[in-house]
Symmetry: C2
Subunit: 164 residues, 2 copies
């Protein structure tokens, strides 16, 4: 896969699977809504502060983020760190009209948290082969990029579904 094809896989995904170490020390997975990306190597996910995976990530931030398109037989597993944060700029960036139904106190609701995932490596797979991008390669590729809603950019005709 080219870098452009890998970015397309990430951008057209509404969801990703977050892999982490659960409370019992065993591997665990949670599907998360994930549309805010800075290139290939950095991703923001809004979630409930009180959720089990946030508690687990405070203990063990080592995690992976997996984007897959089963129909296209494409997958990318990013390995790195997933850190829960209450950074105000991230909270405001990801907030949408209507999110009050999840977080009644609004953007400052203490149950509203952002997970910042930063990849140290990207392993990708497709029917025609596989490959790896290193941390240095990811940093070089993403150096001049800012966080943006990739799904909104790639799939604008469905924009009414892309908030988040």
């Amino acid at each position: 896969m080219t870098d452009t094809e890998l970015q397309s896989l990430i951008d057209r995904s509404l969801f990703a699977d977050l892999g982490y170490i659960g409370a019992d020390g065993a591997p665990a997975i949670r599907r998360v809504f994930c549309v805010w990306h800075r290139g290939i190597g950095a991703h923001l996910i809004s979630t409930n502060t009180s959720s089990g995976h946030v508690r687990a990530l405070f203990e063990h931030p080592e995690a992976c983020l997996y984007f897959a398109d089963s129909e296209a037989f494409e997958g990318a597993c990013l390995t790195g760190r997933a850190v829960p944060t209450r950074r105000e700029d991230y909270r405001r960036l990801l907030w949408n009209d209507g999110d009050e139904k999840y977080y009644p106190l609004g953007v400052d609701d203490p149950d509203y948290t952002i997970i910042e995932f930063i990849a140290d490596r990207a392993d990708y797979y497709r029917y025609d082969g596989k490959g790896t991008l290193s941390k240095d390669e990811l940093q070089t590729m993403d150096a001049d990029k800012a966080f943006e809603n990739g799904y909104r950019r790639c799939c604008a005709e469905q924009e009414d579904q892309t908030e988040g």
Copy 2:
């Protein structure tokens, strides 16, 4: 979710996400074709002996298997052990006409391996709440069951896509 609804989520899924500990000790995920189930707690997955996740599971069989329906906001994370095996009965059970394109030497191809996943626990999530089934509960529920292709049973009208 009721047990029946949980079984439905598993049966109508063609794929699941296998979470495991990768070669570097960090969490990793691989999407796998997964239609052979014994109830909720046991699953068989055919794969290449030479693949990275098989090598990793030989080192660390502790794993999870995640079934999710993003549209229905349903997910189930099974935690347990994923053990690669060359058991002949499993290899024959999962073999399909045409698999020679993946395994040229047929059902005895040394690159053809079955991963047997046995859950110690099932955690499930839906818009209306979450819950857990213990190992004892899973064993009681699945006691009289045999491995079968759940997708073929649940979604017979699409049977031409269900081999595997």
